[in-house]
Subunit: 369 residues, 4 copies
Amino acid sequence: MKPLKLGMVGGGQGAFIGAVHRIAARLDGKWSLTSGALSSDPDRAAASAAELGIAPDRTYSSYADMAKAEAARPDGIDAVAIVTPNHMHAGPVIAFLNAGIHVICDKPLSTTQEDADAIKAAVEASSAKFILTHNYTGYPLMRQAREMIARGDLGNLRVIQAEYAQDWLTEDIQNKQADWRTDPKRAGAGAIGDIGTHAFNLLSFVSGLETEALSADLHSFVDGRQVDDNAHILLRLKGGARGMIWASQIAVGCENDLTLRIYGDKGSIEWDHGNPNKMRFTKFGTPTQILTRGGAGLGDGNDRWTRIPPGHPEGYLEGFANLYSDAADFIIGSNDGQLLPGINAAMDGMWFISACQDSAAHDTAWVRK
Amino acid sequence: MKPLKLGMVGGGQGAFIGAVHRIAARLDGKWSLTSGALSSDPDRAAASAAELGIAPDRTYSSYADMAKAEAARPDGIDAVAIVTPNHMHAGPVIAFLNAGIHVICDKPLSTTQEDADAIKAAVEASSAKFILTHNYTGYPLMRQAREMIARGDLGNLRVIQAEYAQDWLTEDIQNKQADWRTDPKRAGAGAIGDIGTHAFNLLSFVSGLETEALSADLHSFVDGRQVDDNAHILLRLKGGARGMIWASQIAVGCENDLTLRIYGDKGSIEWDHGNPNKMRFTKFGTPTQILTRGGAGLGDGNDRWTRIPPGHPEGYLEGFANLYSDAADFIIGSNDGQLLPGINAAMDGMWFISACQDSAAHDTAWVRK
Amino acid sequence: MKPLKLGMVGGGQGAFIGAVHRIAARLDGKWSLTSGALSSDPDRAAASAAELGIAPDRTYSSYADMAKAEAARPDGIDAVAIVTPNHMHAGPVIAFLNAGIHVICDKPLSTTQEDADAIKAAVEASSAKFILTHNYTGYPLMRQAREMIARGDLGNLRVIQAEYAQDWLTEDIQNKQADWRTDPKRAGAGAIGDIGTHAFNLLSFVSGLETEALSADLHSFVDGRQVDDNAHILLRLKGGARGMIWASQIAVGCENDLTLRIYGDKGSIEWDHGNPNKMRFTKFGTPTQILTRGGAGLGDGNDRWTRIPPGHPEGYLEGFANLYSDAADFIIGSNDGQLLPGINAAMDGMWFISACQDSAAHDTAWVRK
Amino acid sequence: MKPLKLGMVGGGQGAFIGAVHRIAARLDGKWSLTSGALSSDPDRAAASAAELGIAPDRTYSSYADMAKAEAARPDGIDAVAIVTPNHMHAGPVIAFLNAGIHVICDKPLSTTQEDADAIKAAVEASSAKFILTHNYTGYPLMRQAREMIARGDLGNLRVIQAEYAQDWLTEDIQNKQADWRTDPKRAGAGAIGDIGTHAFNLLSFVSGLETEALSADLHSFVDGRQVDDNAHILLRLKGGARGMIWASQIAVGCENDLTLRIYGDKGSIEWDHGNPNKMRFTKFGTPTQILTRGGAGLGDGNDRWTRIPPGHPEGYLEGFANLYSDAADFIIGSNDGQLLPGINAAMDGMWFISACQDSAAHDTAWVRK
């Protein structure tokens, strides 16, 4: 296929997640970065675009201008990646949706319910597609686990646990990343928003279960920090399953330790992001099995979401790239998009953040969905 | 040293934990099993005793008779191990304490607060010592971790997590062990009593922190089961640390998966009972270290609680034996008993069980200590 | 930077390693696939090229035509990737070198010493650069280990062990990959060539030591197979270190299990390709450390060869991409190419294969280099 | 059962392996330590015996006196444990065998072929039983693996690899253990004798295959050391399997790292002494399974060699105790002794040591059995 044309808002020099989106888009050759409003500062926007080989006439410092101009061009972009800080998602997302351009947006959706509702309305009103990059759902074994659970390999689900632990905010540090991610205005929340939403999304995606209520114990361990840096959360899910989430940015020794464990009455799985090419699977009463990405025992199609033979590790970028690859196929109509996180997952994430904050404000009282 | 004389109440043919106590007592050669009321059924008591080489005149079918007779003998037992089901601890414990005979009692202390209070009073009134076999505290690396935390290697503690997960009650089974352990009358509680108390005790022992309050989500997943088989518990500890406990007997694929993780502002440790000879230790900002039982970097005395060189694995029985070894030394005065769980740990365990049940009865409301 | 223009010989529809090279070239945006002789069959060459977006006028079915035409174009390719089966490396490699076009060649160099010598002569006669894709050297922790050893962190090296074990040839299978890889004419050797050379190259690269002699026990366990499928190899290295290599394609349960262990008189490292983002490092007499890709304790520059923060796993494709990224930098002069395997590593690999075969033919007699 | 009476030769104060034998003998309550010639120094012998509660009239400083006296007593010992340094095995072993007393001897059998032959003759002439404590064969999962292989679960064996690596002799140290274990006269050999024999025995025991020939590259890395401290050994086994052994005492970071890997044409197993309660098992073409000691999938009798439920780790002492337990049962006739290493295994170990030394003396030439 001829690569689709991708635009990007945010992600200029010094940004982190923008570069990740670009690699993910490049990896399978289905996208070509063609346009960008990489910064609201014109000089920085231009310099960043030049570095990336974006033509000057496709370079903007205003997302509004970009949406308008690209929509008007016959060779305009097919989709745009929104990689601005959380509080600046709504503007560009809505602008591009309204312009009929597909949107791939970083998570979480926004920092306020108002923004989230506005985005939702725009999605519903637009013919364009909306995808939120909960990239951990792109890991082949997470998709495999979702299928196994959907077809009953684990039986009725009982206990679901997800953790996302980091230690980079153990102390009170100042840098570009820490500044906005611990700023209530720009981030909206701390650990629960930045990484807790990933854990919550992943457990929802894989289990296929909706959460009915949660009870959250949020805490900020570092003096002066205005957002949570540690969260212990209890869940009650549809059908009676119980859940637990731990999100922390002060867990010394943890880098990006995302784990998922799901126990049913017939079997269980356990997955650790640190070694994402393996997954424990146990059928009750039989020896534990180690399933491998694309490996033995996964049946036909075990290589659907992977590029190289089992035993050659894939990682974070390949999982992220699966979202971009699927998004391209979804846009051209060769993929039904069922595995891609969309507006519903995005709104669930918003509920998760606000419910955690409500619960914590009321001494961990249960908050129903 | 000449072995001390040990008696045993409970632990006749078909019992599980009695045999473990006997191996633990034998392992270091500091105890000799001399007397027993191994069953309340006289024939079974006699047959069980004969198998173990206990002389007929030291064999009883009544613990009361045994306490009386052994106290009266010049060669009477030095201590007694109480390994009856939980609801039958109080009687023999009090009888032997009153007779001035040291007591080593299996956990949890009892099934009712009344019994627990009575035992506590007996302990306080007696010159004899009382030890509760929270055996996981006997693992060398758990004692090492306790020392490291006490001297500040981890800094101020922030997050403490313990898990004890099994799967043997995944389905509704009937056998001797399952019968009494799922019977509210004989066990007092389900997962929280049988294994949750171990997790709670271990995190208290290692962290050195008292719990101030807990919130517990107890559930019974198996139809008709009258005790909890899964518990998610939030903790608030003295000094501001937050904690989490998971105890489960329906976690498919888990055998006896006890883990402990403690995070401070300077470092963290992580230990897994499945491979108890290793412990992760990370000082913030430096590479994770793998400490080994008796191994490099532990300093002088790294071999205090171990019998064989590092790399030769020790396990559950050796940890249990450390309690018996220390108990012998404590009784003869060559050990101060500081590492041995006593009546305070026992009463904490009783609080833990009842607080979990209270919290669960009130929709996981916080219960203060 | 503006992407360099890459051509490719081999790698048409149905090939494996060609697709890997293309992803590796794309990942960092430093290369643009512009030209190809993807198959010697004109129709297949054209169809393959079309799929990849290569313009028809840059599509060839003869590498000789391609070398000539591309060298003549003002916008001709900067470098070519040679991904044909081993016995067809020499022709295109020499043609492009002679045309002054940089060559990135898959390993091993060739199937005959004659071809290897001819390539070497062409490299020496050409102003163009030559790179052999021993891609495992691209893993950040392998480069880290090389630096640690070079600066003496492990002291004098004593024991070096590498393994590369697979199981895909456990039985006598027929498919495109198995057919040529077990054909003595097209592959030149079995396990020792396909994967043993990787193990040998990696241990040489990381240790910095040359091998002086080897003794090889080659075997073919599958009836009728004409190349080795299992090899146990002893090494003697400069300075007195001893080594061992195991290469196997019949090791049931192994996918692509490449491991490296190096022991010096002051420290040791251990790395496992299955989880390439971690490496064990032990200084004698101190606790083992777990170093992580880009993580704590690696010092300045710990992020030189990685794209994302520690804890987000990278894998095989990222390691491979490091070679393409470095090659681009090397070509434009912003990298000295010291870490890139070149003709010397390629000739060492040829010696390794032939020495193994000589040794095996003489009952594992030592073969000196 | 009433405990059997055990004597001990060697193992006085300051010794290592004697204490291990005593714990192993005590653990299951089948033995009572009744007599000893714990040292050839009378004062040390008496003091050591007193510490262990051995009666003065059963305490000797001469093994010859002990054999004679104990054989003459109506309550004489049933068996004797010989735990002297290797070069002092033959004397007491033969004396007790000739006296009709069963012998449990530490490994390796001796330091000279003459001694070994004399012991063998004594075994054949005696009605008493002879057991060599290759204790790693006592691990339940090693016995399980032996059964699995014997019944064909792995198919025809192809590749067999064992490693035993330590680092305690990385430098030139002086202490009681190092002194005799690096003394050619007292130890007979270095790493190959002390730990290599264990690796060789274990692979023979589990695979059920005899070795036909070996090629050994022995080396001593520490200046002035007179015995090997590192060995790389190639094996050829009956039926065509190939093998590899690595034994090292200078492998920094290794404590007592014994591993075993066996690959057949239908399946494979992998076991690591560091975590002996788990074993990898893969049937070709299916997901890898993790078998656990006494756990799911092992079939009836999965608890034959274990005392506690799966998930509670057992270790080195329990494995060693299995030999003592079986030995007691063998002596009283309730066990056929098939799993106990006897004189044949002992002689195989002697061949292994001398063949390694012969091979090394001839530039790793193959030495046939």
